[in-house]
Symmetry: C2
Subunit: 350 residues, 2 copies
């Protein structure tokens, strides 16, 4: 057939190429740079077109589409969440995404986002904690030592300098996997036998468990004053990790309140319970941490703008590299009104 | 790096491969078979998860995500609509789509859908007309001779046997392009100098113009009794093709009323104006055409279930062919909780 025109081509980043891109930049540098893209987009939050994600729920899980736009670029992510997958040797969460030009509607980038989501989730948590955690925080508890745990640890190390970790998971094999992955990277790691033990002396408590159910990973008595809680695992209706009493004595920060009230820890609270959207802290219109004794809580569920930032970052970093393939995704007839003619000419060229 | 596991692979159909697939099957056979998939899905309409499309509007156009699921499979389409693109040598509409497994959330197929949408739009129109058009219909007017026009003609030829065409477009070059493409295929074609001339003696009137504005392609006096109107072009808020008086004396059939009341010709009517959803005709719960004198109108805007049917059809037809590439879209670590370890092992393997 005819040579494929440049208009028809969309760069595609496979999982393999995403790994190469991340490794070529360095994981910690990738996390730091990505967090600056996310922070930049949070600072211009009002310019984004925001809609809650479009979810299709089933017995076994959920498939979601998460679109957003800043008026010049449009991005969306496809992401599933299927806790049972792990037992079948599959990922609980897989994702891919697209960045497009609002002016023409043409896609500009298609990329895997399973790895990229893991990275952006860690980068977002650490970016929030940089504004909310107590000064001089140097120890983090990580409760839940699954696929996201190392990315949380790396992001907090890269962005806040935290290298003392206290790990706990109901499955000791998960903790051992996390310890084994992180030990060579200069972390000081304490393997704990309970959540209670993990939070002892921690300045930051990260909860990142996976079961789709109401759970109580942290009870009220486990959380001392001055701590920052980074609640990552409670992220859909019916899935929470924290006891309600903790929420009631915390200053709560969220990404996008209309979505978090449905999906986050605060689904346990009244619909008008006061919360601060993180962008308000970043643009100076709301205070961050007000005192050393305050318990701050980032009730993170993951929002489309973080994926948008990640797509922007990957697009910028791809320039000049070979970490992508060219996909013939778009029809580009010689004459735009002649889609049928393109088909006929293809037949003659075969 | 390591060999990519089968779990990580998603088949991808490029534009080039879609053309090869369509040509290997034959365009008319493709349209006939696709229309049976669409009809099959319309007949089990209540089993689908239906939401209006998620649209992101801008000055120049719109980008939409159109998801649906039957509980076993999930499909969505990304599609844009940018009328100004044509002046820049780009397609007004481009699209791609994904079929996924509801049980695992894993994508099973990624495909171009610019060509596929053109085919499914024609197949849907002809499928509707097979139930609604007057018996013995043999002449169709096509007003608007852009990229969709040939697909409408081919679908009506393949599914209803209509081979007499009366073409009109405000741009004579578009009509000439359409005539030139269709003439070799055994159509009897009359090039007309006005919409009025085009509808003379037509049993079916297809309106498929592209401008994003309120227009009046058909006025009331142009539509005689007994005609079937296939209104394809009016498909978003502020974009209609028919005079309101025609609607008031037609029996109106739609895909999904909540969406069509926003996007279709019936946006000009009261929100409770009676309409019939096409699936009700197919499952026998509502009458089709009731008399030879009746004016029937299929107010088509394009619905996600038609794309779902098209994705299903392409998946079934791909089996045993070479018309796809294998994309490394999904991360597949040896141990599902060890996404970070996959990255580290990739580094060692580079």
């Amino acid at each position: 057939m005819n040579a494929i025109s440049a208009l028809a081509i969309v760069p595609f980043v496979s999982v393999d190429n995403m790994m190469r891109l991340v490794l070529s930049i360095g994981i910690e540098r990738f996390l730091v740079e990505l967090s600056t893209y996310i922070e930049e987009d949070f600072r211009r939050w009002p310019t984004f077109d925001k809609t809650p994600r479009v979810a299709s729920h089933s017995v076994d899980g959920v498939i979601e589409l998460m679109p957003t736009s800043d008026g010049a670029l449009y991005g969306f992510k496809y992401v599933n969440g299927h806790p049972k997958n792990m037992r079948e040797g599959k990922q609980t969460v897989t994702a891919f995404g697209v960045l497009a030009d609002v002016g023409s509607g043409y896609p500009m980038l298609l990329t895997e986002m399973t790895l990229l989501t893991a990275l952006r989730t860690g980068a977002t948590s650490a970016m929030a904690a940089r504004h909310l955690a107590p000064k001089g925080a140097n120890t983090m508890a990580i409760i839940g030592n699954g696929a996201q745990s190392e990315f949380q640890a790396l992001a907090f190390a890269a962005i806040l300098g935290i290298r003392n970790l206290r790990l706990y998971d109901i499955d000791p094999a998960a903790t051992e996997k996390c310890r084994r992955n992180l030990a060579p990277l200069g972390f000081s790691i304490k393997v704990c036998r309970s959540g209670q033990e993990a939070v002892e002396g921690a300045d930051v408590i990260t909860t990142v468990t996976a079961d789709k159910q109401y759970a109580t990973i942290l009870t009220d008595n486990m959380v001392g004053s001055g701590v920052h809680i980074n609640a990552v695992g409670g992220d859909c209706p019916g899935k929470t990790e924290l006891h309600r009493d903790i929420l009631k004595r915390s200053s709560i920060f969220v990404e996008y309140a209309p979505q978090t009230r449905i999906e986050g820890e605060i689904q346990q609270l009244a619909a008008d319970h006061p919360v601060t959207e993180l962008w308000e802290v970043l643009d100076g219109s709301a205070p961050a941490r007000k005192s050393p004794d305050e318990v701050t809580l980032f009730d993170s569920v993951g929002f489309a703008i973080e994926d948008f930032s990640a797509l922007r970052y990957v697009r910028d970093k791809l320039a000049g590299t070979s970490f992508y393939q060219e996909l013939d995704l778009l029809a580009d007839p010689d004459e735009p009104r002649d889609l049928y003619g393109m088909l006929v000419r293809a037949e003659m060229a075969i």
